[in-house]
Symmetry: C2
Subunit: 238 residues, 2 copies
């Protein structure tokens, strides 16, 4: 994998086995990085995109959905966002309190009392990042991704549910574009673009849950996905 | 550039000069493909992502926006979609009739009497595809991309405004996922994911308007972007 300007490479990690409840996912990802030709050494600006599904499997958020009877709100929300109503029902049952449930984002209070978007996905991303730093001695940014429908367009794209080590947005306001024109409104949702790009290498059917994206060089730093979520009161759509 | 499974490469094309009104954009793209190490020969499944901005420049849809006074609808629509109100005003003036103007899609009737989304962008994609087929003797799919805001998330991502030679959606309904579970609702918006992925290599400031995406292998075939646009009457959001 190279790091020339204008060249981005996306590599689905090799050799990730079937992940089960209680598996040490960061360790499995470390093994997979070592098994994937060209992945190591990591370089600054590298991003690991990990699908939410494999995180859920390792953390035991996988239940036999055939036994779950979803409530009507879960059915309606899941239909809109092209999700499984039974899976949404499970998230709702695990929450001590539902703070908001709209627009593809579930904000819940966990049994431990944390209020977080989508069940504390940033914290999971941070755990993977920290374990890989300890093992490899280098920093890597982590995006946890999942598929969502959008209004007015058919089909799902992968977006970022949680981040660690990068800013989900790149603010280009005040920067000149290639024609020298100062951009007034341009804020790139770079974490979402990374999630969508990774999906091109992962696919839905090949059993590839983690991708390394090299060359995109997103803005690095400590941040949370909440930065990218629009509060209801400023959303012109509502 | 390789074509291993699970590996996607995105290469911003080298050497595209400043594009001006009347330039032969397909010829310039052909030259840039030849100037970009590793780009040729094209292989089946390759996709060229071309930003709408460079298409507009070549086709003379570029005017001195400082001289344009946008109407109120253009101001409101542009604010919501993080676009330039003066640019939207120009599109509206060029249209003989506005069929629909909502949700990030302008459907207009051209002076020639064609009713088309976003000014016939599919036709422009097809012209680039045909010119490159004539020059290189190989097929390449083309996506014309532009940036859009989304509801409920800050920041813009690139999406497909027009396509040629690929289906904008990949329908996986009825296909088994990696766990053997038959997917009931999964339709991937692959053209939008290609546009977002290309943006990671192009950026907004580097003067790189065209990227080659290799290894994503989208579903190939004749289609239009209208396939991916949700008709108002089936949109649960309205």
């Amino acid at each position: 994998m190279s790091t020339e300007p204008g060249r981005v490479e996306i590599l689905a990690l090799a050799g990730l086995p079937e992940v089960r409840l209680g598996d040490d996912l960061p360790a499995l990802i470390g093994d997979a990085l070592e098994a994937t030709p060209g992945a190591l050494p990591l370089v600054p600006g590298d991003v690991l995109v990990v699908t939410q599904k494999v995180v859920s499997k390792a953390e035991g958020a996988v239940v036999d959905l055939r036994t779950v009877e979803p409530r009507p709100e879960a059915v309606a929300w899941a239909a809109r966002w092209e999700r499984d109503a039974r899976a949404i029902e499970v998230v709702l049952r695990e929450a001590r309190r539902i703070v908001r449930m709209e627009h593809g984002v579930l904000i819940t209070e966990t049994p431990q009392g944390f209020v977080c978007a989508n069940g504390g996905v940033d914290a999971r991303a941070a755990r993977i990042r920290e374990a890989l730093r300890a093992r490899l001695g280098t920093d890597v940014a982590v995006v946890i991704s999942d598929s969502f429908g959008r209004p007015w367009r058919w089909g799902i794209v992968d977006v970022a549910l949680g981040v660690a080590g990068l800013h989900p947005l790149e603010d280009l306001r005040g920067v000149a574009d290639a024609d020298g024109r100062v951009m007034k409104t341009t804020v790139r949702a770079v974490a979402d673009e990374l999630a969508s790009a990774a999906e091109l290498a992962l696919g839905k059917t090949a059993g590839r849950p983690v991708a390394l994206v090299r060359g995109a060089n997103p803005p690095l730093g400590e941040d949370t996905i909440a930065t990218a979520l629009m509060p209801a009161e400023t959303d012109l759509f509502r």
